[in-house]
Amino acid sequence: MEKMESKIFRNETVIVDNTQFVDCDFEGASLLYQGGALPTFEKCKFVGVSLQFGDAAANTLQFLSRLRVGGFSPAVDRLLESVRKPK
Protein backbone atom coordinates (compact mmCIF):
# COMPACT_ATOMS: atom_id res chain seq x y z
CA MET A 1 0.00 0.00 0.00
CA GLU A 2 1.36 3.38 -1.02
CA LYS A 3 1.73 5.98 1.69
CA MET A 4 1.07 9.70 1.17
CA GLU A 5 2.08 11.90 4.05
CA SER A 6 1.70 15.64 4.69
CA LYS A 7 0.52 16.43 1.20
CA ILE A 8 -1.98 18.96 -0.05
CA PHE A 9 -4.28 17.98 -2.89
CA ARG A 10 -5.92 21.07 -4.29
CA ASN A 11 -8.44 21.08 -7.15
CA GLU A 12 -7.26 17.78 -8.58
CA THR A 13 -8.52 14.25 -8.99
CA VAL A 14 -6.89 11.86 -6.56
CA ILE A 15 -7.09 8.10 -7.12
CA VAL A 16 -7.38 6.80 -3.59
CA ASP A 17 -7.28 3.04 -4.14
CA ASN A 18 -4.63 1.17 -2.20
CA THR A 19 -3.26 4.32 -0.56
CA GLN A 20 -2.62 5.33 3.02
CA PHE A 21 -3.15 9.07 3.48
CA VAL A 22 -1.59 10.55 6.60
CA ASP A 23 -1.91 14.19 7.60
CA CYS A 24 -3.06 15.19 4.13
CA ASP A 25 -5.29 18.07 3.10
CA PHE A 26 -7.87 17.72 0.36
CA GLU A 27 -9.09 21.11 -0.84
CA GLY A 28 -11.57 21.08 -3.69
CA ALA A 29 -10.20 17.69 -4.70
CA SER A 30 -12.12 14.86 -6.27
CA LEU A 31 -11.58 11.47 -4.65
CA LEU A 32 -11.73 8.76 -7.28
CA TYR A 33 -12.24 5.23 -6.03
CA GLN A 34 -12.20 2.30 -8.44
CA GLY A 35 -12.88 -0.67 -6.23
CA GLY A 36 -9.31 -1.49 -5.32
CA ALA A 37 -7.83 -2.01 -1.88
CA LEU A 38 -9.50 0.10 0.75
CA PRO A 39 -7.71 3.43 1.36
CA THR A 40 -7.13 4.79 4.86
CA PHE A 41 -7.19 8.38 6.06
CA GLU A 42 -5.41 9.48 9.23
CA LYS A 43 -5.49 13.08 10.47
CA CYS A 44 -6.67 14.29 7.07
CA LYS A 45 -8.73 17.40 6.34
CA PHE A 46 -11.41 17.58 3.70
CA VAL A 47 -12.69 20.87 2.32
CA GLY A 48 -15.08 20.99 -0.58
CA VAL A 49 -14.25 17.51 -1.83
CA SER A 50 -16.32 15.48 -4.26
CA LEU A 51 -16.55 11.74 -4.80
CA GLN A 52 -16.12 9.84 -8.02
CA PHE A 53 -16.34 6.15 -8.67
CA GLY A 54 -14.84 4.13 -11.50
CA ASP A 55 -14.52 0.54 -12.66
CA ALA A 56 -15.68 -2.00 -10.04
CA ALA A 57 -16.84 0.69 -7.62
CA ALA A 58 -19.01 2.31 -10.26
CA ASN A 59 -20.32 -1.12 -11.28
CA THR A 60 -21.28 -1.83 -7.71
CA LEU A 61 -23.26 1.36 -7.27
CA GLN A 62 -24.93 0.82 -10.61
CA PHE A 63 -25.76 -2.77 -9.69
CA LEU A 64 -27.38 -1.65 -6.46
CA SER A 65 -29.27 1.08 -8.23
CA ARG A 66 -30.68 -1.31 -10.82
CA LEU A 67 -31.61 -3.89 -8.22
CA ARG A 68 -33.45 -1.24 -6.27
CA VAL A 69 -35.48 -0.29 -9.32
CA GLY A 70 -36.09 -3.98 -10.04
CA GLY A 71 -37.83 -4.67 -6.74
CA PHE A 72 -34.99 -5.19 -4.32
CA SER A 73 -35.33 -1.83 -2.64
CA PRO A 74 -35.54 -3.18 0.95
CA ALA A 75 -32.39 -5.25 0.56
CA VAL A 76 -30.51 -2.49 -1.25
CA ASP A 77 -31.58 0.12 1.27
CA ARG A 78 -30.37 -2.10 4.10
CA LEU A 79 -26.96 -2.34 2.45
CA LEU A 80 -26.80 1.39 1.86
CA GLU A 81 -27.90 2.25 5.37
CA SER A 82 -25.21 -0.03 6.79
CA VAL A 83 -22.71 2.45 5.42
CA ARG A 84 -23.96 5.16 7.75
CA LYS A 85 -23.83 3.01 10.86
CA PRO A 86 -20.60 3.13 12.85
CA LYS A 87 -18.94 -0.25 13.15
Binding site: G35, S50, F53, G54, A57, T60, G71, A75, L80, V83
Partner: protein, 214 residues
Protein backbone atom coordinates in the same frame (compact mmCIF):
# COMPACT_ATOMS: atom_id res chain seq x y z
CA UNK B 1 -20.91 -13.31 -20.21
CA UNK B 2 -23.01 -16.45 -19.71
CA UNK B 3 -26.60 -16.55 -20.87
CA UNK B 4 -29.22 -18.42 -18.83
CA UNK B 5 -32.72 -18.78 -20.19
CA UNK B 6 -35.82 -20.41 -18.71
CA UNK B 7 -33.93 -21.90 -15.80
CA UNK B 8 -34.94 -22.34 -12.19
CA UNK B 9 -32.33 -21.84 -9.48
CA UNK B 10 -33.29 -23.27 -6.11
CA UNK B 11 -31.29 -22.77 -2.91
CA UNK B 12 -28.13 -21.79 -4.75
CA UNK B 13 -25.51 -19.11 -4.38
CA UNK B 14 -24.83 -17.59 -7.78
CA UNK B 15 -22.05 -15.23 -8.82
CA UNK B 16 -23.93 -13.03 -11.24
CA UNK B 17 -21.17 -10.74 -12.57
CA UNK B 18 -21.51 -10.27 -16.31
CA UNK B 19 -24.22 -12.92 -16.73
CA UNK B 20 -27.47 -12.55 -18.58
CA UNK B 21 -30.60 -14.13 -17.13
CA UNK B 22 -33.76 -14.38 -19.23
CA UNK B 23 -37.05 -15.75 -17.89
CA UNK B 24 -35.32 -17.39 -14.94
CA UNK B 25 -36.72 -18.19 -11.50
CA UNK B 26 -34.68 -17.75 -8.33
CA UNK B 27 -35.96 -19.40 -5.14
CA UNK B 28 -34.09 -19.12 -1.84
CA UNK B 29 -30.96 -18.03 -3.68
CA UNK B 30 -28.10 -15.71 -2.90
CA UNK B 31 -27.01 -13.42 -5.72
CA UNK B 32 -23.35 -12.59 -5.32
CA UNK B 33 -21.89 -9.55 -7.05
CA UNK B 34 -18.14 -8.88 -6.98
CA UNK B 35 -17.89 -5.62 -8.90
CA UNK B 36 -17.42 -7.09 -12.35
CA UNK B 37 -19.52 -6.40 -15.42
CA UNK B 38 -23.14 -5.70 -14.69
CA UNK B 39 -25.52 -8.64 -14.94
CA UNK B 40 -28.90 -8.33 -16.59
CA UNK B 41 -32.21 -9.87 -15.51
CA UNK B 42 -35.08 -9.96 -18.01
CA UNK B 43 -38.52 -11.34 -17.06
CA UNK B 44 -37.09 -13.08 -13.96
CA UNK B 45 -38.90 -13.86 -10.73
CA UNK B 46 -37.26 -13.79 -7.31
CA UNK B 47 -38.53 -15.54 -4.21
CA UNK B 48 -36.73 -15.11 -0.88
CA UNK B 49 -33.57 -14.11 -2.73
CA UNK B 50 -30.72 -12.32 -0.98
CA UNK B 51 -28.07 -9.97 -2.31
CA UNK B 52 -24.48 -10.46 -1.30
CA UNK B 53 -21.57 -8.23 -2.12
CA UNK B 54 -18.06 -9.64 -2.23
CA UNK B 55 -14.65 -8.51 -3.35
CA UNK B 56 -14.52 -5.03 -4.88
CA UNK B 57 -18.25 -4.61 -4.43
CA UNK B 58 -17.99 -5.14 -0.69
CA UNK B 59 -14.92 -2.89 -0.56
CA UNK B 60 -16.89 -0.14 -2.24
CA UNK B 61 -19.43 -0.09 0.55
CA UNK B 62 -16.61 -0.26 3.08
CA UNK B 63 -15.06 2.76 1.36
CA UNK B 64 -18.27 4.70 1.85
CA UNK B 65 -18.22 3.65 5.48
CA UNK B 66 -14.65 4.95 5.82
CA UNK B 67 -15.62 8.28 4.28
CA UNK B 68 -18.60 8.53 6.55
CA UNK B 69 -16.27 7.93 9.48
CA UNK B 70 -14.07 10.79 8.26
CA UNK B 71 -17.00 13.17 8.53
CA UNK B 72 -17.90 13.32 4.86
CA UNK B 73 -21.56 12.80 5.71
CA UNK B 74 -22.83 15.11 3.01
CA UNK B 75 -20.85 13.36 0.31
CA UNK B 76 -21.84 9.88 1.44
CA UNK B 77 -25.48 10.85 1.78
CA UNK B 78 -25.29 12.29 -1.71
CA UNK B 79 -23.95 9.02 -3.11
CA UNK B 80 -26.68 7.02 -1.37
CA UNK B 81 -29.33 9.41 -2.62
CA UNK B 82 -27.97 9.17 -6.14
CA UNK B 83 -28.00 5.36 -6.01
CA UNK B 84 -31.61 5.47 -4.94
CA UNK B 85 -32.47 7.95 -7.67
CA UNK B 86 -30.40 6.18 -10.31
CA UNK B 87 -28.11 9.18 -10.90
CA UNK B 88 -24.69 7.86 -10.09
CA UNK B 89 -21.50 9.80 -9.45
CA UNK B 90 -19.36 7.66 -11.71
CA UNK B 91 -15.96 8.74 -12.86
CA UNK B 92 -15.86 11.41 -15.51
CA UNK B 93 -12.81 9.88 -17.11
CA UNK B 94 -13.42 8.73 -20.69
CA UNK B 95 -13.98 5.03 -21.05
CA UNK B 96 -11.32 3.04 -22.80
CA UNK B 97 -12.05 2.10 -26.38
CA UNK B 98 -12.42 -1.43 -27.56
CA UNK B 99 -9.63 -2.76 -29.71
CA UNK B 100 -10.16 -2.07 -33.39
CA UNK B 101 -8.35 -5.16 -34.66
CA UNK B 102 -8.65 -8.17 -32.43
CA UNK B 103 -8.59 -10.98 -34.97
CA UNK B 104 -6.12 -13.81 -35.29
CA UNK B 105 -5.57 -13.78 -39.04
CA UNK B 106 -1.82 -14.07 -38.87
CA UNK B 107 -1.47 -14.80 -42.59
CA UNK B 108 -3.03 -11.44 -43.47
CA UNK B 109 -0.90 -9.78 -40.82
CA UNK B 110 2.25 -11.29 -42.32
CA UNK B 111 1.12 -10.15 -45.76
CA UNK B 112 0.70 -6.55 -44.61
CA UNK B 113 4.07 -6.66 -42.87
CA UNK B 114 5.62 -8.06 -46.06
CA UNK B 115 4.17 -5.24 -48.18
CA UNK B 116 5.51 -2.60 -45.83
CA UNK B 117 8.89 -4.34 -45.70
CA UNK B 118 9.05 -4.41 -49.51
CA UNK B 119 8.20 -0.71 -49.72
CA UNK B 120 10.89 0.21 -47.21
CA UNK B 121 13.38 -2.07 -49.00
CA UNK B 122 12.71 -0.37 -52.35
CA UNK B 123 13.08 3.07 -50.82
CA UNK B 124 16.33 2.00 -49.15
CA UNK B 125 17.77 0.56 -52.36
CA UNK B 126 16.80 3.71 -54.25
CA UNK B 127 18.51 5.94 -51.72
CA UNK B 128 21.62 3.74 -51.71
CA UNK B 129 21.82 3.63 -55.52
CA UNK B 130 21.16 7.31 -56.01
CA UNK B 131 23.13 8.88 -53.25
CA UNK B 132 25.86 6.40 -52.41
CA UNK B 133 26.59 4.13 -55.35
CA UNK B 134 26.27 6.64 -58.22
CA UNK B 135 26.09 10.08 -56.69
CA UNK B 136 28.04 11.76 -59.54
CA UNK B 137 25.75 10.41 -62.26
CA UNK B 138 22.54 11.28 -60.61
CA UNK B 139 23.39 14.56 -59.06
CA UNK B 140 26.55 16.21 -60.36
CA UNK B 141 26.06 15.40 -64.04
CA UNK B 142 22.65 16.96 -64.18
CA UNK B 143 23.42 20.15 -62.36
CA UNK B 144 23.34 23.49 -64.18
CA UNK B 145 25.30 26.62 -63.28
CA UNK B 146 23.28 29.38 -61.73
CA UNK B 147 24.68 31.92 -64.28
CA UNK B 148 26.60 31.89 -67.59
CA UNK B 149 29.88 33.69 -67.69
CA UNK B 150 30.30 36.25 -70.54
CA UNK B 151 33.75 36.02 -72.19
CA UNK B 152 35.64 39.30 -72.04
CA UNK B 153 36.57 39.38 -75.76
CA UNK B 154 32.88 39.73 -76.69
CA UNK B 155 32.57 43.02 -74.81
CA UNK B 156 33.45 46.29 -76.70
CA UNK B 157 36.98 47.51 -76.11
CA UNK B 158 37.21 50.79 -74.26
CA UNK B 159 39.60 53.52 -75.45
CA UNK B 160 42.66 54.10 -73.38
CA UNK B 161 41.79 57.78 -72.76
CA UNK B 162 38.06 58.34 -72.39
CA UNK B 163 38.35 62.16 -72.17
CA UNK B 164 40.14 62.49 -75.52
CA UNK B 165 37.71 60.06 -77.15
CA UNK B 166 34.78 62.10 -75.83
CA UNK B 167 36.30 65.39 -77.14
CA UNK B 168 36.90 63.86 -80.59
CA UNK B 169 33.36 62.57 -80.74
CA UNK B 170 31.92 65.97 -79.69
CA UNK B 171 34.07 67.81 -82.22
CA UNK B 172 32.89 65.54 -85.02
CA UNK B 173 29.24 66.03 -84.08
CA UNK B 174 29.72 69.83 -83.82
CA UNK B 175 31.25 69.92 -87.31
CA UNK B 176 28.23 68.16 -88.72
CA UNK B 177 25.91 70.66 -86.99
CA UNK B 178 27.79 73.73 -88.22
CA UNK B 179 28.71 72.85 -91.84
CA UNK B 180 27.25 71.82 -95.17
CA UNK B 181 27.73 68.34 -96.48
CA UNK B 182 26.23 65.24 -97.97
CA UNK B 183 24.54 62.65 -95.90
CA UNK B 184 23.72 60.41 -98.85
CA UNK B 185 24.89 61.38 -102.33
CA UNK B 186 22.75 58.84 -104.16
CA UNK B 187 19.60 59.89 -102.42
CA UNK B 188 20.55 63.58 -102.60
CA UNK B 189 20.25 64.05 -98.87
CA UNK B 190 22.41 66.81 -97.43
CA UNK B 191 22.86 68.45 -94.09
CA UNK B 192 23.08 72.20 -93.47
CA UNK B 193 24.16 74.21 -90.38
CA UNK B 194 21.57 73.91 -87.69
CA UNK B 195 21.13 77.70 -87.22
CA UNK B 196 20.28 78.08 -90.87
CA UNK B 197 17.92 75.14 -90.71
CA UNK B 198 16.13 76.70 -87.76
CA UNK B 199 15.74 80.04 -89.54
CA UNK B 200 14.36 78.28 -92.61
CA UNK B 201 11.81 76.50 -90.49
CA UNK B 202 10.76 79.73 -88.84
CA UNK B 203 10.30 81.45 -92.21
CA UNK B 204 8.93 78.62 -94.35
CA UNK B 205 7.64 76.07 -91.90
CA UNK B 206 8.40 72.39 -92.06
CA UNK B 207 9.56 71.26 -95.52
CA UNK B 208 7.21 69.03 -97.47
CA UNK B 209 9.38 66.09 -98.49
CA UNK B 210 6.59 64.55 -100.53
CA UNK B 211 6.05 67.71 -102.62
CA UNK B 212 9.71 68.36 -103.26
CA UNK B 213 10.32 64.79 -104.34
CA UNK B 214 12.78 64.11 -101.61
Amino acid sequence: MTRYENQTFNKKTLVVDGNRYISCTFVDCGLVFRGGDLPSFNRCTFTRTQIQLEGAARTTLNYLTVLNGQGLFTNVNGVIANVKKGTLPVSTRPESCDGQATGTNYAALLGVIGVFAAIFLLIGVGIWWGFIYHPEENLLAQTQPLYVEIPLDVMPALPENLALAYDDHLEGQSDILQTYGWVDDEESIAHIPIDEAMNMMLEDGLPSWQASGG
